[in-house]
């Protein structure tokens, strides 16, 4: 029952987050904005369309979105949703598998982009790989800090009982949230790292890699992106709202937390300009430093 609820929430809810972000941004711009359900409509529209394939592309291009979405879906099966819905699959070491499933998804997208032979997409691929290589230490150090705090390497046990962690390592937890929000912004190609709404190919990071995808392929990519936003959000929300409750209470808390998370993302996107591209590594390294400090703080407390 809880596994079914987990799947339902994980598969159906994520596109709503995009809708919330866009509504918040619209409010800042003095507009009404698209319907909150717009991404669902878009996905439905794209799924009914045909796809156009360039003659220079090979099966790698077609496999890209499928592999990417599949990897993200599997990653979702390892992630508990708040305190009430444990992951359908939990085993020691799933935190590492989770990180590499996300990396696999990115790898497939990058290969598909390179397969087009377009100089734009090659440039985007190079940027994506560079920035994710810098975001990865921050993610892993954060995972390490959490694993140390809870003495576990499985998401379900790491993300349960966070209240105790806050009592023991409060400052470290705050730094971890900071690091993870930065990682989430970078990984999900949001402002200030990337501009998901720009039309300028030369400035894009993620968006330029998917320019040649259309129809169901594009639907898979957009859906996968919302899943990724949801998954990284799930970690942040559980850390930021560590309260314990009954199962329905947990689910409600989690959903509310995610909505807050989406609103915060929208506010960040509306009040910051994008970073200059050569500044992005600095911010990502700062995220790694936050996470490393959290590791240090937790180590000291654990050994004391």
């Amino acid at each position: 029952m809880r596994a079914a609820l987990h799947l339902l929430l994980f598969l159906v809810f994520p596109p709503l987050l995009m809708g919330v972000i866009n509504r918040v941004k619209a409010a800042f711009a003095g507009r009404r904005g698209p319907p909150v359900l717009q991404l669902y409509f878009d996905l439905w529209k794209l799924l009914r369309k045909g796809a156009v394939y360039s003659t220079t592309t090979t099966w790698i291009f077609r496999a890209g979105p499928v592999v990417s979405l599949a990897a993200t879906l599997v990653a979702g099966l390892l992630m508990p949703l708040g305190g009430g819905l444990p992951a359908p699959f939990a085993f020691p070491g799933d935190v590492i598998l989770f990180a590499y499933l996300l990396a696999t998804a990115r790898f497939a997208t990058v290969l598909a982009a390179l397969d087009t032979g377009s100089s734009f997409e090659g440039m985007g691929a190079s940027r994506e790989v560079t920035f994710s290589a810098l975001a990865e230490p921050a993610l892993f150090l954060s995972i390490a800090a959490l694993a140390l705090a809870r003495q576990s390497i499985s998401w379900t046990s790491i993300l349960s009982g966070q209240m105790a962690a806050w009592h023991l390592f409060g400052p470290a937890m705050a730094m971890l949230i900071g690091a993870l929000v930065l990682v989430a912004l970078a990984e999900n190609s949001r402002i200030p790292f990337d501009d998901p709404t720009t039309h300028l190919e030369l400035t894009m990071v993620h968006e330029v890699m998917i320019l040649d995808h259309s129809g169901p392929d594009l639907a898979m990519i957009l859906y996968g992106a919302s899943l990724k936003l949801f998954l990284l959000g799930a970690i942040v929300v559980r850390l930021a709202f560590p309260f314990e409750a009954s199962v329905p209470g947990h689910v409600a808390l989690f959903v509310a937390g995610l909505l807050v998370y989406a609103v915060v993302m929208g506010v960040i996107e509306s009040t910051f300009a994008r970073l200059r591209m050569d500044r992005i590594p600095q911010i990502l390294i700062a995220a790694s430093v936050f996470a490393a400090l959290a590791v240090a703080v937790i180590l000291v407390r654990v050994n004391a």
Binding site: K25, F28, A29, G30, R31, S119, F120, M123, R127, I191, P192, D195, T197, T198, H199, L200, E201, L202, T203, E269, S270, T271, F272, A273, R274, L275, R276, M277, D278, R279
Partner: protein
């Protein structure tokens, strides 16, 4: 000065919008060209144009200069005898580089020693035949060097133009801009059409500078006919010109915000651009101020009720505009994107003869409205907005200062519109004459050069849009910059493709 030519005969001077007879333009030997160009460069005169002039069998190069130190424009010409070629002046005066290429493109005459001689515009027929490319691009080679080609079809709703970037990783080594996709033979249409048609063509040279171009066009015709435009018409023309400037600068500030992903600036400036365009709509019935300005005056009046309405709109919009500018120019993440991006050195701005906000953002105080005032600007002065730095920040600052100053000017004019007629029909144009009309459009100096034949008909109508002077500034701005900053740099100039291609 070269020896043997008395200074008085080396050029003939006239005010902006004035006409001189063709005979009074001195025809000097070709050997004097180098000296004349060197002197113009050293005295920091503006190069309005270098044009080919064909009269029967005789061929001349016509050199038109503007001298900000005394407000005069000047013309001189140089006889081409025998072989149709001349020693290029580009190697020591870069401002001439596109003009010499254009003469080569148009007539086949050759500037000997031009460092990069190829046609200005893209010509499909040239590309079709021959093995060598008609439009070779400067190429960088080496490990890690790659080429990025952008356009001519772009992702946004903008005009077509081809950009070839030579990059080393994320760093731009060189950008070459190939335009010409928008060529509509505008000059030819201005020489051959009916008067009504010509007016419409003049308004369409660059769609966002309709007022600027048609004002230059009408000023040139009025200069040839010796027409005095009524004061009220001059004031209304000034209001329209400044409203055009405000609308475009505000729109571009929004576009700059959009390019750095700063949502509030993009949304609000974008909306307010529309408000200022709507003021033009109220005056002329066209958001771009079309069909307002006609030879001899203006077609529409600003009656008292409209005057009150316009002032009321300004009262409402100005505080909003200032609030948003305050936010944009105080948001650290925006400033960090604007500052130090796309820097052009002040010396380069002088060397290449950049005009308008591009030059003023490099600390070069060139502005036709104060250097060579004509029309209402002879009576009402607008202070020149200058910024130092030559980067995107400086260009944004200059544009914002100009918005503020133009707003004040529009208010002043609306509050004290002179009484009188709207139009004085121009008489017959002077025969065998030359006139140059300069107007400070929102991108910079717009020049219309008109030469009449013995019957007083237009023999040659040359249009120089500020974009023609300024496109090379984009190349300079992105050198050694990041590829990802190219769109932002480009937007900070927002040059016209159509105005360049004509």
């Amino acid at each position: 000065m070269s020896a043997g030519i008395p200074k008085a005969a080396a050029e003939c001077a006239f005010p902006n919008g004035g006409a001189v007879s063709l005979e009074s333009v001195p025809a000097l030997p070709l050997s004097a060209l180098t000296a004349a160009a060197t002197e113009a460069r050293d005295r920091q005169k503006g190069l309005i144009a270098l044009l080919p002039l064909v009269e029967g069998a005789a061929s001349r190069l016509l050199l038109l200069l503007s001298d900000p130190s005394n407000g005069h424009l000047s013309a001189s010409s140089f006889r081409l005898e025998g072989a149709k070629e001349w020693p290029s002046i580009t190697p020591f005066w870069s401002a001439a580089h596109l003009f010499e290429r254009e003469i080569f493109e148009r007539t086949g005459w050759k500037p000997i020693g031009h460092p990069w001689l190829k046609a200005v515009r893209r010509h499909r027929e040239l590309e079709a035949d021959g093995d060598a490319p008609a439009h070779p691009f400067l190429r960088a080679e080496g490990e890690g060097v790659h080429e990025v080609a952008v356009g001519p079809i772009h992702a946004g709703i903008i005009e077509p133009g081809h950009f070839r970037l030579q990059c080393f990783g994320e760093e731009v080594l060189h950008l070459e801009i190939q335009l010409g996709y928008q060529h509509r033979a505008a000059e030819h249409l201005l020489e051959t059409g009916t008067p009504a048609r010509r007016l419409a063509v003049a308004e369409s040279i660059a769609g966002d500078s309709a007022v600027g171009h048609v004002l230059a066009y009408c000023t040139a015709l009025e200069g040839l006919a010796g027409t005095k435009v009524p004061l009220r018409a001059q004031a209304i023309r000034g209001v329209a010109l400044e409203l055009e400037r405000i609308a475009n600068h505000v729109g571009d500030l929004g576009a700059l915000c959009n390019d750095v992903g700063f949502l509030p600036g993009a949304a609000y400036f974008g909306r307010m651009r529309g408000n200022f365009l709507n003021l033009l709509l109220e005056i002329s019935g066209s958001r771009f101020g079309r069909s307002l300005i006609v030879p001899g005056g203006v077609r529409f009046d600003i009656p008292p009720d409209l005057q009150a309405r316009l002032l009321g709109t300004l009262d409402r919009d100005e505080p909003q505009l200032e609030d948003m500018a305050k936010l944009v120019f105080s948001t650290p993440s925006v400033l960090s994107r604007f500052e130090g991006t796309g820097t052009i050195k002040s010396a380069a701005a002088v060397e290449f003869g950049f005009v308008g906000p591009t030059a003023r953002a490099c600390g070069v105080p060139r502005d036709v409205r104060s250097d060579h005032p004509s029309g209402v600007f002879q009576f009402s002065h607008i202070p020149v907005a200058v910024a130092e730095g030559g980067d995107v920040m400086a260009r944004a600052t200059v544009r914002w200062l100009e918005v503020l100053r133009s707003l004040r000017f529009v208010r002043e004019q609306l509050e004290s519109l002179p009484a009188g007629a709207l139009r004085r029909e121009p008489g017959a144009p002077r025969r065998s004459a030359l006139t140059v009309a300069l107007v400070e459009g929102w991108r910079g100096a717009i020049a219309h050069v008109v030469i009449t034949d013995e019957q007083g008909a237009v023999a040659r109508h040359k249009v120089i849009d500020p974009s023609f002077h300024n496109w090379f500034a984009v190349t300079l701005a992105v050198r050694r910059a990041q590829v990802s900053d190219f769109p932002l740099c480009n937007k900070s100039f927002n040059l016209s493709y159509a105005g360049h291609d004509l």
